[in-house]
């Protein structure tokens, strides 16, 4: 791990892992990672959208409309991945008592909710020409909607405490309760109703044209980097808000602006 951070290393004894559990140590690193992720997201999105819109062939059954998958599928995947990441940081925070873990959870939640909205909106825009209706109570759409509710509940709970520490731990607990429930809800809803077209991306065998798959995978990585960048940006903002009176922050920001 690089030892070239602006912070002096002896302040943060122990391995690099523990060192970066401190907001003061992670703040500059998060800034660098954020810039890198924005750049990667932009490049990958440009390449992925170009392949998706200009290189990938027209779908035999759905025509041009299928191209929404290059946005829809990555967003739907991120909705689930981010919830699990959020629950992971919530659990880490509750077990280890590290402030930065809770802040990481908070930083991920809005991006997860946005991904849910993107998946739902693009899904219904896709549904209109292919299914003939904007909304169907299909298992995957419905569980994405419920996941959106869980994100909103998490954020509402975190915001309802004046005491940030209490809000951190309370919302972390609800994130974990949600994480245990997500698979139960998913399979219940699946039992309840399934109309959605079968998943066409499986490891090993795939029913998609190779260029379509390439474009979708590149877009997935673009979404990953976008989400990491957005979360890190929100994390840095949160650190600035919480540590606004800390001397290290003033020094770091002064050093950065010079």
């Amino acid at each position: 791990m690089a030892r070239t951070e602006s912070q002096s290393n002896d302040k943060f004894a122990g391995s690099w892992f523990w060192r970066y559990a401190s907001p003061a140590a992670f703040f500059p690193l998060a800034g660098k990672l954020e810039k890198l992720c924005w750049a990667l997201a932009a490049v990958l999105a440009a390449v992925g959208l170009y392949i998706g819109f200009f290189v990938a062939p027209t779908d035999a059954q759905q025509g041009e409309v299928y191209r929404v998958i290059f946005i829809h599928v990555p967003a739907a995947w991120m909705t689930m991945v981010i919830y699990m990441a959020m629950a992971f940081w919530a659990a880490t925070g509750l077990v280890l008592g590290t402030r930065l873990s809770f802040m990481m959870s908070h930083a991920l939640a809005p991006t997860g909710a946005i991904m849910a909205v993107v998946a739902l909106v693009t899904g219904s825009l896709w549904g209109r020409p292919t299914w003939g209706t904007y909304w169907v109570w299909d298992a995957r759409l419905t569980s994405t909607l419920i996941l959106f509710f869980l994100y909103m509940g998490y954020m509402a709970l975190a915001a309802s405490f004046d005491d940030k520490k209490k809000g951190d731990r309370a919302s972390a607990l609800i994130a974990l309760v949600g994480a245990i429930n997500v698979p139960i809800i998913y399979f219940s809803v699946k039992w309840w109703n399934t109309l959605h077209q079968g998943s066409s991306v499986r490891p090993g065998s795939s029913s998609m044209a190779a260029t379509m798959l390439t474009a979708m995978m590149i877009m997935t990585f673009a979404f990953w980097f976008y989400c990491v960048a957005a979360a890190l940006h929100r994390l840095r903002t949160d650190i600035i808000e919480r540590e606004r009176n800390a001397a290290w922050l003033r020094d770091t920001l002064k050093a950065a602006s010079q």
């Binding site: 869980l150 509940g153 209490k166 731990r169 609800i174």
Partner: protein
């Protein structure tokens, strides 16, 4: 005092309070009745139409009525100081919370499931469907209260508790809703509801095992 003594004392106290404050169980029942009688005004009074929506309306109504009682779990005790005593007790907090939820489930679950068949008449549902619906309300109320106890415990000291409790708890009750109403639907269509009942019971047992622990952790966080 032994653990058994403590939990029995909590259950007895809760049931005595229930017997004295009639509004605690009468109001949720009135709410349930009113919700169930609103829908025919909105959808029309043809019995074929009502039969189709009846199961869902009654089940959702019962869940909402039970959810409105969630603040009763801890809010009053937080005001009069008995919550502090509960927290200071040497007995495991999870067991005491479980005893409170058990008492509330007993009172509210029996009350709500007892009136369910009557409301089923409003919706022209046959007797066997009404009985199955009643049984499922009896099973769903403890599940909802167990899951809800986590949110109620977290929100003891938070702003806007009631509406936030609904936002947090209602999405988590969807599996219970699917299989509770599903069992009654199966009976309506003349099929066996065994799978739905088994899953409903499984959710209740899972909630029974995990929720008191989570609620105890939640209560320690919010009263810290």
């Amino acid at each position: 005092m032994s653990l058994r003594g403590a939990t029995t004392a909590v259950i007895r106290r809760e049931l005595q309070l229930f017997a004295q404050r009639k509004s605690d169980w009468a109001n949720p029942l009135m709410f349930f009745l009113i919700v169930c009688s609103l829908f025919p005004f909105a959808v029309g009074s043809e019995s074929e139409k009502l039969k189709l929506i009846g199961i869902g309306v009654i089940f959702v109504g019962a869940l909402l009525a039970a959810m409105l009682s969630l603040p009763k779990l801890f809010d009053e005790d937080a005001r009069d100081g008995s919550l502090e005593l509960m927290l200071a007790s040497p007995e495991p907090l999870a067991a005491l919370i479980l005893a409170r939820v058990a008492a509330l489930s007993l009172a509210l679950g029996i009350a709500l499931s007892a009136v369910t068949p009557v409301f089923a008449l409003f919706y022209a549902l046959p007797f066997d469907v009404a009985a199955m619906l009643s049984l499922n309300v009896l099973m769903a109320v403890p599940t909802l209260l167990l899951v809800g106890s986590i949110a109620a415990a977290l929100l003891v000291s938070a702003r806007g508790g009631a509406i936030l409790t609904a936002v947090l708890v209602l999405p988590l009750t969807i599996p219970t809703l699917i299989f509770g109403a599903g069992a009654a639907l199966k009976v309506l269509y003349g099929e066996s509801p065994a799978a739905e009942l088994a899953l409903q019971a499984a959710f209740m047992l899972l909630a029974l095992a995990l929720c008191p622990l989570a609620a105890a952790a939640a209560l320690k966080i919010s009263t810290d």
